[in-house]
Symmetry: C2
Amino acid sequence: MNIQLALDRMTIPEAVRMARTVHDYVDWIEVGTSLIKEFGMESIRAIKREFPDKVIVADMKTFDNAKYEFELCFKAGADVATVMGAASPITVNTCIETAEAFGTTVMIDLLHTSLEQQAAILQYNQAVPCLHVSKDEQEHTGSMLQGRNPAGANALPEGQRFAMAGGITQKSLPGLLKFKPFILIIGSAITNAADPRQAAFEIRQVMNEFKERRVYE
Amino acid sequence: MNIQLALDRMTIPEAVRMARTVHDYVDWIEVGTSLIKEFGMESIRAIKREFPDKVIVADMKTFDNAKYEFELCFKAGADVATVMGAASPITVNTCIETAEAFGTTVMIDLLHTSLEQQAAILQYNQAVPCLHVSKDEQEHTGSMLQGRNPAGANALPEGQRFAMAGGITQKSLPGLLKFKPFILIIGSAITNAADPRQAAFEIRQVMNEFKERRVYE
């Protein structure tokens, strides 16, 4: 289990400062879509320059022009890039092929995908599907990724690596850990906390306690 | 009927030069998704600075974080921004509301949408739906937007303003004009032509001849 810190709605210097503040407690660092669209590939280059040993995720949310977009972000230093599962299968497939050529990883965002699309996506077992409650849903309906029955989780085959994202907090974390996600994507619960380093520390602690309990159970 | 010049897979200075070369023959200028993801909002600011009187389209391809992303591009100078029709209805609706607040226009990209999604999208009659064959489909299957039966065109209600995009050339143009699109989005047929100004001139001429024929018929 890994924590992916999502950096969104901030400037590049703010993103670098935030990542410096909490990097001890996170595994992967995500350059959010909002940073990419506001500042371009420089956002990825800046984070990779500062954290060459971290796994850097480019939340490209690619929907078309897959080879070009994925080459852009891998050349800028990304180790992982996202494509929308709702895109054409040709686009998803091109992302997989491009990542293979670079020795990098594709994260497939399941946001607003049909069951049929999810089934097709799970064929790519080298990729990491991401169960995702969107920011817009969170802000308009208060919906967060919850432990009871996160959309799509039940469809995942045993042993499939996957990510979870969408308003995850210290409070919702324990309910999600039992699904054994490979990646927990956490943004504002850290970046908007009064003390981001403390928040990241606490989230890491909850995760570590969960892992230890599982060892001694 | 208007021509939207799509600028993709180039640097900002190349985009500015291209737009300068052909601006006499095009109506709207689109800052393509690839420019936005590579160079951020500076790509939109640069084109708007150079062409303050043209309608500037930001091909944001928004899928989430709608208010934030749309505010970004409208503040950078965009007059029109795109959202994916495959996104959550909450996201599409937030785009519509944000554009209303700015007095701008939403283009809804129908790429890989279901018939059900298309029907919901057509409720927004102040927006411009875009019938779209993706770059990835063009490159992998040779599929282009053709005159016979462009996906979704038949579902459009009479009088609905809409755009068409996807590998449109001088050759495929006449077959598409009969659908009376409000916007024809043309990229590589102009930007990759040996003589882009001549190509844009010829496309404009085909369109003008079509209009005249309709007047005198």
